[in-house]
Amino acid sequence: MNGAATRAIDSPTPGLHDEWGLVAALRLGDEAAFLALVKRYHGAMVRIARMYLRSDATAEDAVQEAWLGVLKGIDDFEGRASVKSWIFRITAYCAKGRSVREGRFVPLSSLEEDGDDGPAVAPERFQPEGARYANNWSQPPQPWADERLAAVETAALARAEIERLPVRQRTVMTLRDVEGLDSDEVCAILGISEGNQRVLLHRARSKVRAALEQHLEKGGRP
């Protein structure tokens, strides 16, 4: 307990500092610290659980179970991983266990790729085979205006587009780009290979970029 508090003070990274403070407070039974962690991670945990379970309701149950696991394990948490990574790993473990018990466990690595994924950019935006500059842009992307990119509705659109992604792409992009985990952490939490993670991330980012492009170049207002 003391160790954690000391580390919180020494920690050079503001985010980590804050997390160590929360862990220390949680060990002391601080309800506000618990709620802060719940507020911060619950949504991402439901997404992780949703990768293993078919309904939002069972995913929510698995996450409730994961929080109990967090509380039970908090005294033994040694900080080899970040708090976030540790909590997400417990979540994946609980969700996986539940899907095994329900007899519907399918290893993520053996799932078919999510539907027919087309190319990152529509083929008609490139010059056709046989043209002088075959496969180079015929309809190139236009730079995005910073103030429109920063607008609230642009973020809302990105969120909606992430929600629409197939479940594995959505989870990987959420953990990597929204939550800011690194690829090793994501592979460990989800039990997928680095190559698999990279393909899912590429597809997810390509689709979200395409949606933003459509919004920023046409319909949307600044």
């Binding site: 039974g29 309800e31 618990f34 709620l35 719940v38 507020k39 911060r40 991670y41 619950h42 949504g43 991402a44 929510e60 409730q64 929080w67 109990l68 509380l71 039970k72 190319p119 990152a120 950019v121 083929p123 490139f126 075959a134 496969n135 180079n136 842009w137 190139p140 992307p141 236009q142 730079p143 995005w144 990119l149 642009t154 973020a155 990105a158 969120r159 992430i162 992009m173 780009d177 929204v178 800011g180 690829s183 990279r198 991330l201 590429h202 980012r205 390509s206 979200v208 970029r209 933003l212 492009e213």
Partner: protein
């Protein structure tokens, strides 16, 4: 153009891996050579980076109704057990 040069159509499929720093050296070199002379692909790469940055600004939604109470009850229960 020589066969070893990347086309724009190939580049867009590698943009995320490039940002991830996962391209092997030879492929990274071809990627960066292409960027040197292709302004539209520089715009594309900027857009992939802007997409990642936009995702990074999102915060999680509020808790579903009921979750907070259930979790708080579980927390208080946990606190009681030594």
């Amino acid at each position: 153009m020589s066969a070893t040069e990347l086309s724009c159509r190939e580049l867009v499929e590698l943009a995320s891996d490039y940002v991830e720093r996962r391209l092997p050296l030879a492929e990274r070199t071809r990627f960066e050579m292409h960027l040197c002379y292709c302004a539209p692909c520089r715009v594309y790469l900027d857009q992939i980076r802007a997409t990642i940055a936009t995702a990074g600004r999102l915060t999680e939604d509020d808790l579903p109704a009921g979750s907070r109470e259930t979790l708080l009850a579980a927390f208080r229960e946990w606190k009681k057990t030594p």
